[in-house]
Symmetry: D2
Subunit: 344 residues, 4 copies
């Protein structure tokens, strides 16, 4: 059985997913595409030699009875409408982050999905599929470090452009930690506070960089995350979970070790794409396999998208107030209580 | 376009390749199988829900005009005959090691392939597709370490059964270094000598373990490889290339880092399958892609299979004589002079 | 020339210093001792076969004209009185932390020393003499990482007794970071805030453990220090300085690397004494050498002792209020503006 | 009690020992010096402000009844005569390597010492006092890795001058491994063979560089040592002991860890002096303490000096013949059977 994808949004990320499904993974096929820029949609079909229909808009694509899955990789503000429509049509959805740009929008998707009576939607938070994070989760759930008490993490990029503003440190960057960390410790967030260290000389007028977020959870875990998007030296993701019996930490990215010029060195990546390349492939293959075998996706849910939206809002508010801000989540519906992503 | 595979030999490795082509990779499909044990062939078809013909023998499978590629994962002594027949039928071949059990057998395959006038055969040496070895090769070819002068390597398994004898340290184990190291330094072997250290208490009556091989190349590079197949602690592959400007070394296998019980530790694998899991996938995907795009495979050739056979023979002789043994290769035909595996 | 020490306080630390001066270092000699427990003083003289006078109290010891240096390793609350008396007598002083138990007490020592017109006092903060911290300082001052923006540190002990209370996480533990970090970045502290993560099950009724301190400096550097004194796994000191060009981090404590039982591991210390053993020796040898050569000690000054006291008070207050607390230092006298500890 | 040293040979190493004894360590004092260059002896006395007699030659120095220990740091060929004379006068001796330039010369010292009826001589092999090697020995003797089967080591220098010839790779460089490795595994050497890899372009006309030594022991341990004295990148000492239960390896030299310019790096030393600086200090302090407490030195003995000479001769012969050369040692006298250097 082959899962038939309709892709909404054929920009850079959309094209990568098309390439992945077409040339790297097994069990999926792109049979329909659309983009607000129809020329872009045509180019994608040609570039990957797809046997795919080009639709004028998402509505038409969703209406195609051959489309099993709607992959949403359009502009963020357009996500909500496409996802709601696809869900109401009973289609599976793989939606790149954000699920919706507001918490209310996420809740509308949650409601639409619950009305369908089964899980249809997966949000594109790929870190849960990274082998390092999976090993962290195995260590925690295997009780290697006892009860988690703290997390210390860092998200560093070499540099960002002038259009990247202070709030984007949350919505574009910290958002990945927001998703992966609550999954890692199976807990909900309670509050957040931000400290702004002195600004690096490599930052811009509208960007406070670096930033230090202190997030607490319902169980009392304190999470300290550094976001530093002009760190110059490379793309570097750090995560260390401190438990009452031990500490477990993400490995450094794998590189050969060089002895030269009085230095023992390994390479740090410069580009986030390579860091999570495998995770992206595993993510989509798991999405295909889960639907094919179990009739539902197994990854981050609409509810996880809602958590990300609410937490993200509180983090941005905390940037503005300098105070500790509470993170208010609605009660989790039983519908979303089932555990996702069984670790292999 | 989909490459249609006929699989000869549905044992453990054959099944893994079937699963890989069917459920993990893109662009290939298993449409025919055979095995000396027909029951095994049937089970494979059922287990992976293949839409495949079960043939009584390799001859019949090769004769199927729908078969584009013959994947040979039968018992080693049967390889030569199947490969020659497939080549003579103009089929592509992916043959697990050994290509043939004798150097003469390898040469017969070489001749058959040259007679066809194009490269058809790839031998299943997967290490060339491991990201660590690829990084080593990039470092060498990018002149990071200057001219290679020495290699120090180790191939360690936790333990082997009683049927594993001294010569198998060459034919089953060292064989992987034999292939990957001459590729790494783009040189040919000249001689080999073996030292037997005192035997580990975990070895068996018919197995000298560990062993230390000293191999020289035409350019004068000295390669020291330890083979230790009852090392107890894990599966561990080490390789360090010493150049006149610097030294480059394989990374340790990636694992989270744990602080616990006064130890800072990471995990060492216990099973070779996990160590090269990615390499196996990359290997077969590259085989499919190269044939699809370029009309020929891009990996280890029949000539590489011949080099492995000749070197392996000399290593076994050196185990027996305790002396330095020469490694006599015929002159490389121009047909095989083209460089394989362009590093991405 | 031999520097003649009078030791006030012959408990565990006093005895270690006596042993160090007598049997490990060069240029110093213990010629007088005293302790509130005279029996302890006698035992020290016998144990180390000292040719030393036993005095009934610090006053008498200070009055001995043969005593060049008063080494103060008595009970903390007694330090101030001994140090002031020694300074007023024109003697050099090496005083274990704390210099005095209050900021006001430290200022009285500062005044007494300034009245003498030359530096006489060194406080026993040994980390500045640790080769790791010295390398960090060299990296910062050599502009390896550009301008420091953040520090992330951890101070972990395997366990503490029931008498160790929440405030002692500051006064006994964080106090070392308080001293070494302002020296490292050559900056003064401005504020501190404390987060209490959920408590480890290994803690006691009167101890919140772990704790996370967020300290800011005048230049805007944000320092995040974890104190975790029942971490179980070992004694572990971490310090990472994040600059606008790069990041530099303390090395792990040096240990052989073991491959065994599927683990690649090195040893973590269990006892703080071994971690800074070399630093203690270097500290006292530098104290002896500086006085012998330059006529004044070169390490942490009375003013550094005052900084530690004020910062420590603010940290304890922050533990109690949960709020950000300001750290108010008096203006630094020109007398203390000279740079100490030239790095070798 | 203070041990009184007479120093024979006030070149670079002699001066370092004088400085060490005078300014860094405890319990020793230099009271006499001599050098074939009397001016050099005078300069040493002045530079370190010694209260020491300058003697015209070693005979006169040895005859001084105030001299307890003769420290021999003269030109290698002069060692034997000085050591024999000192031993015959009943003096303790600390002799830099080599003990004598020939095995026969070493045996003459052995005989002279045995005639005195007690151990008087220590040879200056400092690696046994390095904390890394001590940890290796503790791991082996604590049965952490089971029975040793192999050692893989490397001794690398950044570069050497034109006067350094092929044989000096043994007599100046490998000599340190020769001493420390038999101590590490408590075994005697049996044979040696040398392989010459292609020569680095940084070597000279009279120097084959690098070289690979394969040494076997009586118990069958195979030792592979790379000597590479123009490796360019730094001074680097590697040692890994492979046992039947696990493997233990020297730590890298301790350095802070830097993230910068897409590299994660630590520093490799460029100068051997820093690598074993601590070991030199521990070595001489242990020599002083052992004589003071036990009446005899505790480090490498005259017999160890003899082992080094015999092994060194065989290694040089193996360089010349290209064959496996036997290492013939006389039977060890009971006098030298007592274990030295108890690990702390
Ligand atoms: Mg994603
Ligand atoms: Mg293979
Ligand atoms: Mg101290
Ligand atoms: Mg020495």
């Amino acid at each position: 059985m082959t899962l038939r994808f309709g892709v909404v949004g054929t920009g850079a990320i959309g094209k990568e997913h098309i390439n992945r499904i077409t040339n790297k993974l097994s069990g999926g096929k792109v049979i329909a595409v659309t983009d607000v820029n129809q020329e872009s949609a045509k180019q994608a079909v040609e570039a990957y030699q797809l046997d795919a229909v080009i639709y004028p808009d998402d509505k038409a694509l969703i209406a195609d009875p051959n489309v099993d899955v709607v992959l949403v990789s359009s502009w963020g503000p357009a996500h909500e409408e496409t996802v709601v429509a696809a869900v109401e049509a009973g289609k599976y959805v793989f939606c790149e982050k954000p699920l919706a740009t507001t918490a209310a929008g996420c809740l509308r998707i949650v409601e639409a999905e619950m009305k369908q009576g089964k899980k249809l939607v997966q949000v594109g938070f790929m870190r849960r599929y990274d082998s390092g994070y999976i090993q962290l989760k195995q260590a925690i759930e295997g009780n290697e470090i006892g009860e988690p008490l703290m997390i210390r993490a860092a998200h560093r990029n070499p540099q960002v452009g002038e259009s990247y503003t202070t709030d984007m440190a949350v919505t574009d960057t910290l958002i990945h930690e927001i998703d992966v960390l609550h999954w890692l410790i199976d807990d909900d967030y309670k509050s957040v506070q931000v400290h702004f260290p002195r600004k690096t000389k490599y930052s811009h007028a509208n960007l406070q960089d670096p930033q230090l977020f202190t997030i607490t959870t319902n169980r009392g875990i304190v999470i300290s995350v550094e976001v530093f998007v002009n760190c110059q030296y490379g793309y570097d993701i750090q995560c260390e979970v401190i438990g009452d019996e031990g500490i477990v930490k993400l490995p450094e990215f794998q590189s050969v070790v060089l002895r030269k010029n009085q230095k023992l060195s390994s390479t740090i990546l410069n580009d986030w794409k390579y860091r999570f390349m495998d995770a992206y492939n595993v993510e989509i293959q798991d999405f295909i396999d889960s639907i094919t075998k179990d009739g539902k996706p197994n990854g981050p849910t609409s509810w996880d998208g809602y958590i990300a939206a609410v937490t993200s809002d509180a983090c941005v508010k905390a940037q503005q107030t300098g105070e500790e801000e509470l993170i208010h989540l609605q009660e989790r519906p039983a519908f979303y209580s089932e555990k996702g992503l069984q670790i292999i």
